[in-house]
């Protein structure tokens, strides 16, 4: 009597084809934000990244450490495809953001979701307000009230609001180095990125300015996935949940920060963090 209802298709059944949406859902539920699978990177004929694979957790801080020239910055730049601005570069492999390959996405769209802060602060030659509002404007938000609101919110999140609220229309170049870097962070936060990439954001800053940036990174946990490249191992140990160690284009070790610093599995990692080279 009546119709027999078809059983629901279960993920994992042979012959069942996973769609991109399924992959995205799976990734969301597993707490995985970025998955990198066998990434190889070339500058012209020279290979600088070899088979890098790692998994980055959502709303956590991941630090990438390693000596100069080990490829950690290059790796970071592939995550929002900034490497494409340099002629002659080529990335092979897979980078999945929420289960979707970023190399198949529209690059402008990708960069709206994956923001970046650079090693040297690079404020635009505009006012403080205009700097933070820039991302909103290029992405089509033009209502003045809304822009002003987001600018304030972003400056608060970047712990800069109190210092600049009375001269938002002054040049960004009038700020100190540390303030400029926080401005760049505020600028990136204004478009509410899901992932924030930081490429040695404190390398040009004094310890006090560095401490302020670290504080603000802590405050961002829970609202944003952060990947930070740093030369400073104490910094990685202080801020990161997971840490990856790069050496000569290879990801040597990737684990919880505690384990990397207290009980590394590989000798190279131990040598580096104990300061035997690098």
């Amino acid at each position: 009597m009546g119709k027999v209802t078809e059983p629901e298709v279960i993920i994992g059944v042979p012959g069942y084809e996973r769609t991109a949406e399924d992959a995205e859902k799976e990734a969301r539920e597993s707490g995985l934000k970025v998955a990198v699978n066998r990434l190889n990177f070339f500058y012209g004929p020279r290979q600088v990244l070899f088979d890098v694979s790692l998994r980055i957790l959502e709303r956590k801080i991941t630090a990438l450490i390693g000596p100069s020239g080990c490829g950690k910055s290059t790796f970071l730049r592939t995550l929002n495809r900034m490497h494409e601005t340099v002629r002659g570069t080529r990335a092979e492999g897979e980078v999945l953001l929420d289960g979707r390959n970023i190399f198949e996405m529209d690059v402008v769209n990708l960069r709206r979701r994956v923001g970046m802060v650079f090693q040297k602060s690079n404020p635009f030659p505009k006012s403080i307000f205009e700097n933070v509002a820039y991302g909103l404007k290029v992405n089509g938000t033009t209502r003045r009230v809304q822009v002003a609101e987001v600018v304030e919110k972003s400056l608060i999140r970047a712990a800069l609001w109190d210092e600049v609220k009375d001269h938002l229309h002054k040049s960004a170049y009038a700020l100190s180095g540390g303030q400029q870097q926080r401005l760049c962070i505020a600028r990136a936060l204004a478009i509410d990125p899901e992932v924030l990439l930081l490429d040695e954001p404190c390398s040009a800053l004094d310890p006090i300015a560095t401490a302020k940036i670290e504080e603000l990174l802590f405050a961002l946990i829970g609202s944003c996935t952060i990947i930070i490249v740093t030369h400073n191992m104490q910094q990685a140990a202080r801020v990161a949940d997971q840490t990856g160690f790069f050496l000569m284009g290879k990801l040597i070790e990737f684990n919880k920060t505690d384990i990397i610093f207290k009980n590394p599995a590989r000798k190279e990692t131990e040598d580096y963090i104990t300061g035997r080279f690098g």
Binding site: M82, R87, N122
Partner: protein, 283 residues
């Protein structure tokens, strides 16, 4: 040992003096030319000269009002044709161009820049004057415009390349498309320099005579629109200076003075613009 030291000191002092003298010589030549022109030109400059048409041959008096306006018209045509082309081409070279293409364009622009200006005149004569069958401000302006292109192109390219790359990256990382980043960050960051470059280029072609000789030709009267032979200061100077009449010689001096002033004002103005920081950059 001591004599070698003495010799080295002598060579040092000698070269210092020699280079200094040559520097002084080059600037004094310029100052003498400017001073001579200024002195003679200022002497013969009258209100009538600025406001009246040239007098008929044999009469004294009259002025060059038509040539002053004519030069303005020619420069207008030149600016409208040459500046946008050079500007956009320069943007392409600095921001988009591939290696080979950029090299080729840059090389040709440098060649074009070195082409004798009379050749530009011949070119404009062939493509504008011959088909239209008469001289015109359009033809003269076009000849000047073609001269503008390589200068504006190269200066725009250089100024854009001087904009630090991190600014471009910053804009791209915020989800700006390449053109948006160029239009909203890179160009505004160098707009004063680019404007200055264009203004200097205009000042440079303002004094050109050769390309105008058989394009805009000359005119003793007012020319209407852009379709008639048009008087211009450089051609007027040429014609008046080689004439046998002392009164015309005096007028040529005055015209030279006016031209010098125009170029000087453009130069000084351009440098003032360039040296002033943009409001957003002030602390």
């Amino acid at each position: 040992m001591n004599s070698r030291l003495g010799w080295r000191k002598f060579v040092n002092a000698f070269m210092l003096t020699l280079t200094g003298l040559c520097a002084l010589l080059s600037v004094s030549v310029l100052l003498i030319v400017l001073g001579y022109l200024g002195w003679n030109g200022w002497q013969y400059l009258t209100w009538t000269f600025l406001t009246h048409l040239p007098a008929a041959v044999g009469e004294t008096g009259g002025g060059m009002a038509n040539a002053i306006i004519g030069s303005g018209k020619l420069l207008l045509v030149a600016a409208v044709t040459g500046i946008p082309t050079g500007l956009l081409g320069g943007i392409y070279l600095a921001e988009f161009g591939g290696k080979t293409f950029t090299f080729m364009v840059r090389y040709s622009a440098d060649l074009l820049n070195g082409v004798p200006s009379i050749v530009m005149g011949i070119f404009a004569y062939t493509v504008v004057v011959l088909p239209m069958r008469h001289f015109s401000a359009l033809a003269g302006g076009l000849a000047l415009g073609i001269m503008l292109i390589p200068i504006v192109l190269r200066s725009t390219e250089d100024f854009l390349r001087a904009v630090p790359n991190p600014l471009r990256e910053g804009a791209l990382a915020l989800g700006a498309s390449k053109w948006k980043a160029i239009a909203t960050i890179v160009i505004p960051a160098s707009i004063r320099a680019i404007a200055t470059g264009s203004l200097l280029a205009l000042a440079r072609v303002a004094g050109e005579t050769a390309p105008l000789l058989f394009t805009s030709f000359n005119n003793q009267f007012w020319s209407h629109g852009f379709n008639q032979p048009t008087a211009s200061l450089p051609v007027m100077i040429y014609e008046y200076a080689i004439s046998p009449y002392p009164d015309w010689h005096r007028q040529a001096w005055a015209a030279g003075f006016i031209l010098l002033m125009l170029v000087l004002i453009a130069n000084v103005g351009a440098r003032l613009i360039l040296s002033r920081k943009s409001p957003a950059l002030r602390g």
